[in-house]
């Protein structure tokens, strides 16, 4: 039995972090990745497509997305498409799942307990749904398969042992432990929720197919899970992401003018695509005028550019200036000896000195 597993697609998710006007493109990229996943399912002729929750975001999902999904599911018909709603696409009367006419090859698990679906004789998929955005208990607590054959679970939940990797901000929806899987008679669990891919002995997290945030690492996308007659699992990961999300850094120390900085940015971003978070660091000569708003136009191959300047320092010779017996020297002395936060202190010094210099760019990045 070959299954294609995807999870945490997060259709219609907002992407404020990706920069202005990047949201639409990012959402389209997610659709493209999902479409590629279904194309992969057709190409690989898997026995079923399994979606382990958070296919979309309930609060934001549009009817257009519903129709898109219905068309996508239809595109692999009669291949079964199994959907286990998660905490973001929880099942309910108002759910897109309940409001969309999905094709007949679609099975949407709608109950907050594991319900069996026999894909073929001797092979049962147990699916469950989150029916609310929170407070969904674990599906494996007290669960036990009630028949013979190979059993695979499909749900959206938090494997407790993985929580430290996911960070404290990750809410443990529908928690379970890896040992609960064999204890309940299941051979494997296809799960979503954690965006970091994981190929554990008894469970598989495919990870989000299209980047959803900076800092995501690991091969993610779809997983072709092959389950043999004894319930042994082998996995083949396929990346689906249409865009990359990467970090870049430009050190402006010693760059004499704005154009030099711009060229440095172009050089750093050369060959990059997708969404790039550019950190401008180093010491910026005091006369250099930065215009980051002009940089995206210089790197059209980058889908979206997010600039961070919090580590940037302006290269005024503050040691010399603060020695001046002048208001300017006194100003620098006062600011440097103040209890201001480093960032604020840097900006206040630079702003004051620029004001003394009669410059118009008083806003310090």
């Amino acid at each position: 039995m070959r299954l294609l597993l995807m999870a945490d697609v997060h259709l219609d998710s907002p992407f404020a972090w990706a920069g202005k006007n990047a949201g639409v493109a990012r959402r389209q990229a997610i659709r493209d990745a999902l479409s590629d996943g279904f194309a992969l399912a057709r190409a690989e002729r898997v026995d079923a497509v399994c979606l382990a929750g958070d296919l979309f975001e309930h609060e934001r999902v549009s009817r257009d997305t519903g129709k898109f999904l219905a068309g996508l599911f239809e595109s692999v018909s009669p291949m079964p498409v199994l959907v286990a709603p998660g905490n973001h696409d929880w099942f309910g009367p108002a759910s897109l799942y309940a409001r969309t006419a999905f094709p007949g090859n679609t099975t949407i698990f709608a109950e907050p307990r594991l319900v069996p679906l026999t894909l073929q004789e001797g092979f049962t998929v147990w699916g469950a749904a989150h029916t609310g955005p929170a407070s969904t208990p674990g599906f494996l607590g007290g669960f036990r398969v009630d028949r013979g054959g190979v059993h695979v679970a499909l749900f959206h939940g938090s494997e407790q042992g993985s929580l430290p990797r996911e960070g404290v901000e990750k809410i443990p929806h529908s928690p379970f432990t890896s040992s609960q899987i064999p204890d309940s008679g299941l051979h494997h669990a296809l799960v979503g929720h954690f965006h970091t891919p994981a190929d554990a002995t008894f469970h598989t997290y495919p990870g989000n197919p299209e980047p959803l945030a900076f800092g995501e690492s690991g091969a993610r996308g779809a997983v072709i899970v092959e389950v043999d007659a004894q319930g042994h699992v082998s996995r083949d990961r396929r990346e689906l992401a249409h865009t990359s999300v990467s970090d870049a850094t430009v050190d402006v120390t010693g760059l004499a003018h704005g154009e030099a900085v711009r060229q440095a940015v172009i050089a750093e971003l050369s060959g990059r695509s997708g969404v790039v978070r550019l950190t401008v660091t180093g010491e910026l000569e005091q006369d250099v005028e930065l215009h980051p708003e002009l940089w995206p136009g210089a790197v059209p191959h980058v889908e979206s550019l997010v600039v961070r300047t919090r580590d940037l320092r302006v290269a005024h010779d503050v040691d010399l200036i603060q020695a001046e017996p002048s208001v300017r020297g006194q100003f620098v002395r006062d600011v440097l000896s103040s209890g201001l936060a480093d960032e604020m202190r840097r900006k206040v010094v630079a702003t004051g000195l620029r004001a003394f210099e009669g410059r118009s760019d008083l806003e310090v990045l």
Binding site: A16, G23, A98, H257, T351, L362
Partner: protein
């Protein structure tokens, strides 16, 4: 530190020219266009160089470049040899164009000390005196422009002071820097108030709008969720209603299926029992009909009636009947009434005559009772005879006589009663008693005469008595009063009896008259009935009339029997006719029976005799019964076939079996998927309930569809929450950026103001002290004291009279002097602790009068004792003064005209 020489390799109009200086006051004199200002600028440039080009140059720098770039297009260079206070010499060479080949070397060692003097990327020799190129320019390097600005600009000296000195030599003064921050904040941040259009307000409004959009979008989503749940609830109701309908259909279809199955089973059973042959559907044979008709005719044959009356005899009897009488058969009521009236009147008259009343009156009438009673009254009034008069003393009173009145009254009453009752005995006894009473009364002894003293009344009395007695006598009555009264009563009795008799007579006569009248009426009535007679014979004629009526009545009764007899005759004749008809019908029925018997071939004989009609009829009935039994059997078969036909209809048994199966399938289909509870609830359902259930289901569907439609509309209009959230995040970021900028600007402003106030506080006393030292000599004693505001750095001066004046309000010349003094004071203050700072002055006395010029020069000569002063001037007075006062190793006069071409 001082300049020992300066070389303008290429600087403005100067090309490879050098100017050497003495340690003290150097006055460089030249006419207009002798390059004084170029040399002044070249000194500055050779010492401080130019800020290495990072970013756009400031306005002052651009002006400097425009004025002093080499005219001939050579490389812009200048150099200077400096002598430090400790005797060391430093050679500074400035590449003013590229600002790369700039160096400083310690001489004569040649050690490159450039790195020690680099400021803003290039060598700045002013560092040696504790300044930088901006500060040096602002303090030690005074140009005509600065002076002109003082004169032309009404701005305060403090502003100038702040710009050139306290900013640290920047292009802007602290105040200007603060203003710039203010301006920037106003333009790039703005204020948060309604109507503002600057970034802060815009960001807030955009954030609020975006937040409102997100809130609205979420509310729409919330509404959508609520409505979706409502739709789901309605759909559940609809499903329940549909299930109820389906269950009802299932139950009803199940019943139909059961019924169809039952019919099919019954039809199958009938089919199995009836076989394939259907009984004949022909009606009973004609013979049966004929026989039945014959039997019916025989059974309904009429009975032959008996004839009891001979119609012919009866007809003869009728012939003998009399005609009705011509007169009354009963006395006519008018006659009867008159006869009865006559009979009654006769009775009444006889009764009246038989009971006569009263008595007949006598032939001669006596006195009336009234006359008698008047006489009695008059006697009574006369009284007894009066006594003879007697003396009064002898008079004896005696009691008057008493009459036996009770006896008299008893007698009168008895006599009256006897008259009234016609009992003479009683009358006589009564009269006797009355007379006895009167007699007894009259025999009583007379009363003794009364003694009187009055006159004698007896004669009168007697006369009267006689007169009364005479009257009594005349009418024949006893003169006694009682007798008179009794006689009066008797007369009353008699009068009453006579009156009664007269009344009786009158009544008798009336009765007789009435009788005669009745006879007349009877006679008239009889005449009316055809019996004339006179009234006297009317009673007899009436009797005759009555008897004639009785005879006519008998005749009438005989005549009256005719209709009855005629009716009897008709009945008799009808009976005789019906009898004949019945006999014919019986014969006909018998004939039909016989024919029927022949038709069905009944035996011709019963025993040895031919059967009669009764026997034939019975035999025929038996034959019919047999035929009917056979027919009943066939009929039952036909009924079963008909039942079979009804069961299977036109399509036959296989179709019925198929229908039963189809109905069962339909029932199963209806029931498919239904919960057992739905079917259980519908077990008692009846077909008439189904429409209501279907209406309920339709209503539920309608409600659900309506809300679903609303949901669809709502879904179609759901906003793009993700985009809204992104817009909100973007707006929030922008808001945060502006707020952060505002905070940075505000803190910058705070620190700037704080630094300004602190520096001003520190420098104000020093400036004042410096001003006070030079001010009296510079102004020729006109101003002797000065004050510097530590906040605004405004300078006030006063003369001996202590009248304070703002320095900027003084005359231009004085103001320039004060300004120059301030410069000197600032240099002194700012370079304290470093090498002495030379002063580079360009035409600073150009606007001063001769006195002030000399005062300035004197002051500069004093200053030059402590620091090098290089004064450029075009004034003859200055040249003359210099030539007169300067010379030797510490001061010199330089003529630029002399330098031309070197």
């Amino acid at each position: 530190m001082r300049f020992s020489r300066v070389t303008a390799t290429a600087f403005g109009p100067l090309v490879r020219q050098t100017l050497e200086f003495e340690p003290g006051l150097n006055v460089v004199v030249g006419a207009n266009e002798s390059a004084k200002s170029s040399w002044h600028a070249a000194l500055y440039a050779a010492l401080c160089g130019r800020k290495r080009g990072k970013g756009k140059p400031g306005q002052r720098e651009r002006e400097f470049e425009a004025r002093h770039r080499p005219w001939a297009g050579d490389v812009w260079k200048a150099s200077a040899r400096l002598v430090l206070d400790d005797g060391r010499e430093v050679e500074i060479s400035q590449d003013l164009d590229g600002k790369v080949d700039c160096r400083a070397m310690e001489m004569p060692t040649g050690r490159d000390i450039s790195n020690e003097l680099v400021v803003d990327g290039s060598v700045d020799g002013s560092v040696l005196v504790g300044l930088n190129r901006q500060a040096f320019l602002a303090t030690a390097c005074v140009t005509q422009t600065d002076l002109l600005r003082v004169r032309e600009d009404s701005a305060s000296l403090a502003e100038l002071l702040g710009r050139v000195v306290l900013s640290g030599g920047g292009d802007e003064s602290t105040a200007a820097a603060l203003r710039r921050i203010d301006d920037f904040r106003r333009d790039e941040v703005g204020v948060d108030k309604a109507g503002a259009v600057k970034p802060l307000r815009s960001a807030i409004e955009r954030t609020e709008a975006a937040r409102a959009a997100v809130k609205a979008a979420r509310e729409r989503r919330g509404d959508f969720d609520v409505l979706a749940r409502e739709v789901e609830r309605l759909r559940t109701e609809q499903r329940e209603a549909d299930s109820a309908v389906r269950a009802a259909h299932a139950v009803l279809a199940g019943r139909e299926a059961d019924a169809a199955a039952e019919r099919a089973e019954r039809a199958q059973s009938l089919s199995d029992s009836l076989g394939q042959r259907r009984p004949s559907l022909d009606p009973l044979s004609t013979a049966v009909a004929e026989v039945s008709a014959a039997i019916t005719a025989w059974a309904s044959r009429p009975s032959v009636p008996e004839v009891l009356v001979d119609s012919e005899a009866l007809a003869a009897e009728i012939e003998l009947l009399p005609d009705p009488p011509a007169h009354d058969t009963v006395p006519h009521p008018s006659v009867v009434g008159c006869a009865e009236d006559l009979r009654v009147r006769l009775g009444v008259l006889a009764d009246h005559v038989g009971r006569p009343e009263g008595v007949m009156p006598p032939p001669a009438a006596g006195p009336t009772a009234q006359v008698l009673r008047e006489l009695a009254k008059e006697y009574d009034e006369l009284g007894p005879e009066p006594p003879a008069p007697v003396p009064f003393s002898t008079a004896v009173r005696s009691a008057p006589p008493r009459w036996p009145w009770g006896l008299v009254v008893l007698g009168v009453v008895g006599a009256g009663g006897g008259l009234a009752t016609a009992q003479p005995a009683l009358t006589v006894v009564g009269l006797m008693l009355a007379v006895a009473g009167v007699v007894l009364g009259g025999r009583r002894p007379p009363a003794p005469p009364a003694a009187t003293a009055e006159p004698d009344l007896r004669p009168v009395w007697h006369a009267r008595r006689q007169e009364l007695d005479g009257r009594c006598s005349s009418i024949g009555v006893n003169p006694a009063i009682s007798a008179l009264l009794i006689a009066a009563d008797l007369v009353d009795v008699r009068d009453e009896r006579e009156s009664r008799h007269r009344q009786w007579e009158v009544e008798r006569q009336r009765l007789e008259d009435a009788l005669a009248e009745a006879k007349l009426s009877l006679a008239q009535a009889l005449l009316g009935r055809g019996y004339p007679c006179d009234p006297q014979s009317a009673p007899a004629e009436h009797e005759r009339y009555r008897r004639a009526c009785e005879e006519d009545a008998l005749q009438q009764r005989a005549a009256d029997s005719r209709p009855d007899l005629l009716r009897q005759l008709e009945q008799a004749q009808g009976a005789e006719r019906r009898r004949g008809e019945a006999i014919s019908a019986v014969a006909l029925a018998a004939e039909r029976v016989e024919k029927a018997a022949v038709l069905v071939a009944l035996p011709a004989r019963v025993g040895s005799v031919p059967p009669d009609a009764h026997q034939l009829s019975a035999a025929l009935q038996a034959w019919i019964d047999e035929q009917e039994q056979r027919e009943e059997s066939r009929s039952r078969a036909r009924e079963q076939w008909e039942q079979f036909d009804r069961l299977v209809g036109d399509d036959g048994l296989p179709a019925l079996l198929g229908q039963a199966q189809r109905l069962r399938r339909e029932a199963d289909e209806w029931a498919a998927g239904l919960a057992p509870s739905h079917l259980a609830n519908a077990l008692e359902i009846t077909a008439d309930r189904l429409p209501a259930l279907e209406r309920e289901a339709a209503d539920a569907a309608s409600r659900a569809d309506t809300e679903a439609g609303r949901l669809e509309q709502l879904a179609a209009g759901l906003p793009d929450l993700a985009s809204a959230e992104e817009s909100l995040d973007s707006a929030v970021d922008e808001h945060h950026r502006v707020e952060e900028l505002a905070r940075v600007l505000d803190r910058t402003q705070e620190f700037l103001e704080q630094a300004r106030d602190r520096v001003h506080r520190d420098i104000a006393p020093a400036l004042r002290a410096s001003l006070v030292r030079g001010l009296p000599r510079l102004t020729g004693g006109r101003y002797v004291d000065a004050a510097v505001d530590p906040h605004s750095l405004e300078v006030k001066v006063c003369g001996p009279s202590r009248d304070w004046h703002l320095a900027e309000r003084l005359s231009h010349g004085t103001a320039e002097q004060v300004y120059l003094l301030l410069r000197l004071s600032l240099v002194e203050h700012l370079t304290g602790g470093y090498d002495s700072c030379p002063l580079l002055l360009d035409d600073v006395t150009v606007h001063a009068d001769s006195v002030r010029t000399e005062q300035v020069l004197t002051l500069l000569a004093d200053v030059a004792r402590e620091r090098q002063v290089i004064l450029f001037s075009q004034e003859e007075q200055v040249r003359a003064w210099a030539e007169a006062n300067l010379g030797g190793r510490v001061a010199a006069v330089h003529r630029l005209d002399d330098l031309a071409g070197t």
